[in-house]
């Protein structure tokens, strides 16, 4: 009956709990008391270090007059119009970045898989390149280009929304990995050829056949892009665009309590976004599918 855990796992893709239980039990066998206590000590100490500043933010932002607690700092967020503007600007950039990134990356990556596998390494290299070029360096190099756009492209060229162009570059490494892991789980070449042989053109084959099959990867790439845009400071501050982070920074000089309140709210929002993808993105399913392979049924 040793085969049971593996078969259960295979029969229930996504039913992670079924595979997880026996694996956990298997590991528990060799867990000595020393290991357990070491684990608890590490969790408490390192978690303590990670949680303390977050708790301090909560404490700091809820300070009222004369030692009382209130939510005035949170309510005051909306009294600062530039904070609201910053949030709106950043969200608009985030939407543009997500669509721009998908439009640029998905057809290109599908095409490299289906038609020109030789170029796959090149595209991968270019996508990972931003990891080797710090954001501050990109600012220095891109400032002349933005100056040119501001002078020659009118209202559009001077808009903070143009930051989406750079944010798409910054998110490439993460988006590439997310979409790539999606593409690896399905046979895209066969899917695309099947769609084409049934009469679909390339746009339709990609949009209606390939995209639904890699939606997990696309979802993670999009959420990572949103998180990146909302957290981006270096480039917007040096190019003098008032995005969320720049506004938070400026507010910190005027009203530290409200700026900490905005920061904590933004961190919590980002956490919820990322928690949703770790639950529903391909990663979770992948682990469940991989479990039988890691623990051969024999």
């Amino acid at each position: 009956m040793t085969a049971t855990p593996g078969t259960l796992g295979a029969a229930a893709p996504g039913g992670g709990a079924l595979t997880a239980r026996p694996r956990g039990a298997g590991r528990g066998r060799r867990r000595s008391p020393l290991q357990t206590s070491a684990r608890i000590v590490i969790l408490v100490v390192v978690f303590g270090y990670l949680v303390l500043p977050l708790f301090a933010m909560l404490e700091f932002s809820t300070r009222g007059d004369y030692g009382t607690r209130d939510l005035a700092s949170y309510a005051a967020i909306f009294d600062y119009p530039d904070v609201v503007d910053g949030i709106v600007t950043s969200l608009e950039i985030a939407i543009l970045t997500v669509f721009g990134m998908l439009l640029l990356l998905v057809p290109t990556m599908v095409w490299t898989v289906v038609r020109v596998p030789r170029m796959r390494r090149v595209v991968e290299f270019l996508c990972l390149l931003p990891l080797a070029i710090p954001a501050i360096v990109i600012v220095v190099g891109i400032a002349p280009i933005y100056r040119w756009m501001g002078q020659h492209l009118g209202v559009f060229g001077a808009s903070p929304l143009t930051l989406a162009f750079i944010d798409i570059i910054l998110v490439l490494p993460y988006a590439y990995r997310a979409i790539d892991s999606g593409l690896r789980t399905v046979d895209v070449a066969t899917l695309a050829d099947a769609a084409r042989s049934l009469g679909a053109g390339w746009p339709r084959a990609i949009l209606q056949v390939v995209v639904p099959n890699i939606r997990g990867g696309i979802l993670s790439a999009s959420v990572l892009a949103v998180a990146l845009v909302l957290g981006e400071y270096t480039i917007s501050s040096l190019l003098s665009f008032h995005t969320l982070q720049v506004v938070i920074y400026l507010l910190g000089k005027r009203d530290p309590f409200v700026s900490v309140a905005v920061s904590l709210a933004a961190l919590v929002f980002a956490f919820i976004l990322l928690y949703v993808i770790t639950r529903f993105a391909p990663g979770a399913g992948e682990r469940a599918e991989r479990a039988p392979e890691e623990e051969p049924a024999t």
Binding site: A20, F60, Y249
Partner: protein
């Protein structure tokens, strides 16, 4: 063009991408056309990534008038301020990478012991993503709320413990403060990078080691350690570049001067600088690219080795 070829087979001969044109003679042309579809991507990356990099690289070797010069590069190596900024950035990155890697690896180990699809693990991964990649300015504020002049810990020590530790918050605004905050976002990054490698350690390897009489220590010394070593080293390098390139936290925290290289580049960029030094900032930026590229190249080599075991 959507859907047309099915009802009109003849037209599929005219659409270049259609299978019908896949004759032996037109194969080369067909292949070339395939590459055309990649042009938008290359143009985009060329405009917004390669071109800026070239502007930096070429600018580092030119004067404000456009003449060729090595002065900017020379100044980077001779000017006390720049040498010290590079040195401090590297020290900061090394120290926080090592601290972050050790604590992050321990945390990853503690998390991976638990239920692989459990709540703890998913919460930790999501929280790590936020703290590692989202932070910047907001983490600086978090530490101001903790250890700043009016911070939680500072006030606690002052009013309840009556001891004189941490009551002077000025350490937070200098390099020590940077090291503490950087370590804070290095730990979750390490967790994200290292967790898959720990997952790759298989139960059978442990069982095999145990059946040969090996205990916990023997397993880590002869099996787990050597297998994880390349991943650990690779993660260490990634953490180094992460701290070395970081700007936002430092900009929000450091109150005086520009002790590290990213702040130095920013101040060169923001102030219209001294005559004859217009492109020094670009030389410094080029210096950063060189250092990060070397580290990333070593990382890629190690990663290739690590992927042999961790699939």
């Amino acid at each position: 063009m959507t859907g047309a070829p099915v009802t009109a087979p003849a037209s599929s001969g005219t659409t270049a991408a259609g299978p019908a044109t896949r004759g032996a003679g037109s194969r080369r042309l067909y292949g070339a056309r395939n590459y055309l579809a990649l042009i938008p991507f290359h143009v985009y990356v060329g405009l917004f990534l390669i071109l800026p990099t070239l502007i930096v690289a070429i600018g580092a070797f030119t004067t404000a008038q456009g003449g060729v010069t090595l002065d900017n590069i020379t100044r980077m190596f001779t000017d006390e301020v720049f040498v010290s900024a590079f040195t401090k950035s590297i020290q900061l990155a090394v120290a926080t990478a090592i601290a972050g890697a050790i604590f992050g690896a321990l945390l990853a180990w503690a998390v991976v012991r638990g239920d692989p699809n459990g709540q703890l693990r998913q919460i930790v991964i999501a929280a790590s993503g936020v703290l590692a990649q989202f932070g910047g300015v907001m983490l600086a504020f978090a530490f101001l709320a903790t250890f700043g002049f009016n911070g939680l810990v500072t006030i606690f020590f002052k009013s309840y413990l009556k001891v004189d530790i941490l009551t002077d918050a000025s350490w937070l605004y200098g390099l020590t403060g940077l090291a503490v905050v950087y370590t804070y976002f290095q730990i979750p990054l390490m967790l994200i990078v290292f967790l898959p490698s720990l997952d790759g350690l298989r139960q059978e390897w442990y069982d095999a080691s145990a059946s040969l009489g090996g205990g916990g220590w023997a397993f880590w010394r002869h099996v787990g350690g050597p297998i994880l070593a390349p991943s650990f080293l690779g993660a260490l390098l990634l953490l180094f570049t992460n701290a070395f390139s970081a700007y936002a936290t430092a900009a929000a925290l450091v109150s005086q001067g520009s002790p590290i290289i990213t702040l130095q580049i920013a101040s060169q960029f923001q102030s219209e600088v001294v005559l004859g030094q217009e492109n020094v900032g670009k030389a410094l930026a080029l210096g950063m690219i060189v250092i990060v590229s070397i580290v990333m190249a070593v990382y890629a080599l190690i990663q290739r080795r690590a992927s042999r075991w961790v699939r």
